[in-house]
Symmetry: C3
Subunit: 113 residues, 3 copies
Amino acid sequence: MGKGEGYCKVVAIVRGESLENVEQRLQQLGVPGITVTCVKGYGEYADFYSRDCMTEHVRVEIFTSAARAENVAQGIIDAAHSGVAGDGIVAVLPVSKIYRIRQRAEIRPEQFE
Amino acid sequence: MGKGEGYCKVVAIVRGESLENVEQRLQQLGVPGITVTCVKGYGEYADFYSRDCMTEHVRVEIFTSAARAENVAQGIIDAAHSGVAGDGIVAVLPVSKIYRIRQRAEIRPEQFE
Amino acid sequence: MGKGEGYCKVVAIVRGESLENVEQRLQQLGVPGITVTCVKGYGEYADFYSRDCMTEHVRVEIFTSAARAENVAQGIIDAAHSGVAGDGIVAVLPVSKIYRIRQRAEIRPEQFE
C-alpha cells in the first residue's frame, strides 16, 4: 500500500493537562472522533524506577485516512508540546479496514478528508 | 502477507450498553478471549464540541487470525448496531506475532479457528 | 520493511499481580517507557461465559524498534509466566512512525537500542 492510501491509527500518550488543547486542535483539523483512555505511564514523562512517580497521562486514539495521519500527528505534537520531560509520544500504525457500526458499512478513506 | 494469513487485531468502540450483546455474539463465534477498557469518546457517538456530552463507551480488543477477522468484525457490527448516532466503529489492524504466556509459545493462526 | 527495520508496538495483557515483575524486567532490558491501562479480560485467563469471573488484568503497551521487539516480548513472557490459566498474551504489531513530543521530532529506531 503506497503512502497516502488506506487507513492509519494515530495513538498519542500525552499529559492529562494537555487533553483540552489536543481536543481543540483536532476539532480545528476536522477530526470526526477520538477515543480517550486514562493510563499510567513511565518513561520520557516519569521516573521509570520509582512507582510513586507514575504520572497521570491520557491515551488518545484516532482512526483516520493514511493521507491525513501525518497532519493529525503534527497537530497533536503542536498542542501537547511544552518542552519538558513528560510531553509524551505520538505513534502512527497501519490499519486494514474501518467500519461505521451505525451504517453497517466500511468507511472509505476519503470520508475522513 | 496474503488475505487470510497471519494475525489481526479487531478493535471496536461501542456503547457501554452494547457490551453484553457483543460479548454473547463473540462467544457464539467461538472467540477465546477479549479485552475490555472503559473509554471516553467523541465523534459519531457524541458532540465533539461539548465536553459534557462525552459518552461512556467501551473499547473491545480481540486478537485473532486474519482468516477470522472479518467474521469477528461483522459479528460486532451486528451486535452493536442500533442505527442511531453513537453506535461506534470497528477497525482491523495487522499483527505480526501473538504469544500465549502460559505456554511460553507463539499461538499459530489456525489455533484461533 | 525487512525484519529488524522500523518500529513495533508490543502489547501484553497480564495479571495485575505480574505488573511489578514485568516492569522490573523491562527496566533491566532498558525499555525507556511503558503505558499501563487497567482492563477487564475474558479468555485464557477467565471464564468467558461468566460475567462474575472477569479478572483484573493490565494492558502494557511498549513502542520500540522492530529489532528489539522480540526481546521485549520474551522479557514480558518470562516475567509474567506462572503456568496456570490467566497468564495472558503478548502481541507484536507493526508501527509506521513514532514521534517524541518534547523534541517535536521522529524517534529513530536506533534510539531505542
